[in-house]
């Protein structure tokens, strides 16, 4: 007798669960789609989003702390010091390596590097993934001698 009862209850449950599932999908049919129309409408990133870095060159003191803090060695800095004057000749970040961990921004004493909202910097070449943040400068012979390029 139990076998017969299980059979009929199985048939009933099969139909019932299908109906429950269909009611759920019907509800979704009339709910608002969550699709982001990405290339047409850019999504707003959250305030603490860790995107491509923002570098404020005039604040930078060329102390290499960020490059030292980087766990994957993706920051390369070139500095020319002449007395009190500091010239940042190079501030490259290799985004093939960067893992957006935010560890470079924390130790900076001058608060000159931050994680930004930007995320669209894909490139077709390996070179293209190395972003140069420092404004390009022409150096004199003397300056070239004192230029110190450091990775770590």
């Amino acid at each position: 007798m139990t076998a017969v009862r299980t059979y009929f209850s199985d048939v009933f449950m099969g139909l019932w669960t299908a109906l429950v599932g269909m009611s759920i999908t019907l509800r979704y049919l009339f709910s608002k789609p969550v699709t982001e129309m990405y290339p047409d409408v850019k999504p707003r990133t959250p305030t603490r989003y860790r995107g491509i870095h923002v570098f404020e060159e005039e604040k930078c003191i060329g102390c290499y702390v960020c490059a030292k803090a980087c766990p994957v060695d993706c920051i390369e800095i070139g500095v020319v010091r002449k007395g009190k004057e500091i010239k940042i000749t190079k501030f490259d970040i290799d985004y093939q390596k960067c893992m957006f961990c935010d560890l470079c921004c924390e130790p900076c004493p001058a608060h000159c590097i931050h994680m930004g909202p930007e995320f669209e910097k894909a490139s077709f070449t390996r070179k293209g993934t190395i972003l140069q943040f420092a404004t390009p400068k022409t150096l004199t012979e003397e300056e070239k001698k004192v230029e110190k390029v450091a990775r770590k």
Partner: protein, 347 residues
């Protein structure tokens, strides 16, 4: 068709074309065939778009939006052009003639079935006196086409898919055929025209709502068995992507693939339309006195919507579950319905 053949000579005379009298029925036949073929292709295109759009919204997505304006209505035409332009590949070790024959057989089965498709009192190609039986018979051609496609591809996934498809379609033909019997017993005819005509006079005269609901249950069984014989979800395991790539049409591309595609979507319309005609009063409206092709198309569209809805709700069944449901659930239930309806008719 007979009406068309009756009207045709007058129309031809007005147009100024002289056609010998013997050729008029042939011409009418050709016109009907091309109308059916055009309707099949067009409805497949519309349904592909509708299915994608609905699938999107069922999953909180948008579906196609880019091609042809806001609703992506040109999407299926773009798809059609893509399929036409695609290279038609025949595998080196395939059985070439059979490989070429299979898609035509599949389409032919569905195409022939549309001969007895009752859109409205006037809008049907031919009112055969074996109507519904004829449709069931020619639909079996599709099974043969599928199994031929799977075998001729010389590909293990195709063969597995074809074996599953054949086993499933053959076993679901039985509940499908038996589910029609209560209706035939009540209408005392196999002709679809008289079956629909027997349901006139408002919604309560439709066969689904006839107490004691033997025909309501058999409507459900007919619909489920129809889903299974169309190989649609949740019975789509002959083409289960996760295990068989694409089932029996793995090796097909381009136009030949689109033939299978067209047959599936035309089959959806066919099964929905048959269910509407057999159980939901065909071209009769909700209130007594209302009738017209619009009502039939509305009911068919609703049933097609339910098919799409089911597809995006339920997961795929296992092959043993499919066979279990066919032989151990649907068949006994439908036999009980036939017996009950026969006892009702005996009085």
């Amino acid at each position: 068709m007979s009406e068309l053949a009756a009207v045709l000579p007058g129309v031809l005379e007005k147009a100024g074309w002289s056609v010998p009298g013997g050729l008029v029925p042939v011409l009418a036949m050709f016109i009907c065939a091309s109308i059916v073929a055009a309707a099949m292709g067009l409805s497949a295109a519309v349904l592909v778009w509708a299915e994608r759009k609905l699938a999107g919204h069922f999953q909180c997505r948008l579906g196609p939006v880019y091609v042809g304006g806001k609703f992506g209505w040109l999407q299926s035409i773009a798809d059609g052009i893509k399929l036409l332009l695609k290279e038609d590949i025949i595998p080196a070790d395939a059985d070439r003639p059979l490989f070429r024959l299979a898609p035509y057989l599949v389409v032919l089965g569905v195409f022939l079935a549309f001969i007895a498709f009752p859109v409205s009192e006037k809008l049907m190609v031919a009112d055969l006196n074996i109507g519904i039986f004829f449709i069931l018979a020619v639909l079996t051609l599709e099974v043969f086409g599928v199994i031929l496609a799977g075998w001729a591809s010389n590909n293990k996934w195709a063969l597995l898919g074809a074996m599953r498809a054949a086993a499933q379609m053959v076993s679901y033909e039985i509940p499908m055929g038996l589910a029609i019997l209560p209706v035939v017993v009540e209408a005392q005819s196999l002709s679809l025209k008289s079956i629909v005509a027997a349901q006139s006079g408002g919604m309560l005269r439709w066969y689904v709502f006839q107490p004691p609901f033997f025909m309501g249950v058999s409507f459900l069984i007919f619909f489920l068995a129809g889903l299974a014989s169309l190989k649609r979800a949740p019975f789509d395991l002959p083409e289960a992507e996760s295990e068989l790539t694409a089932g029996f049409h793995t090796e097909y591309s381009g136009m030949r693939f689109s033939f299978f595609f067209m047959a599936e979507y035309a089959g959806m319309i066919l099964v929905s339309g048959l269910a509407a005609a057999l159980y939901l009063g065909g071209w009769h409206g909700i209130l007594p006195g209302q009738s017209g092709a619009m009502w039939f198309l509305l009911k068919t569209a609703f049933l097609v919507f339910v098919m799409i809805w089911l597809r995006w709700t339920l997961p795929r069944l296992r092959i043993d579950q499919v066979v279990y449901v066919g032989w151990k659930v649907l068949t006994p239930f439908v036999l009980a319905c036939v017996l009950g309806q026969a006892l009702m008719a005996y009085k």
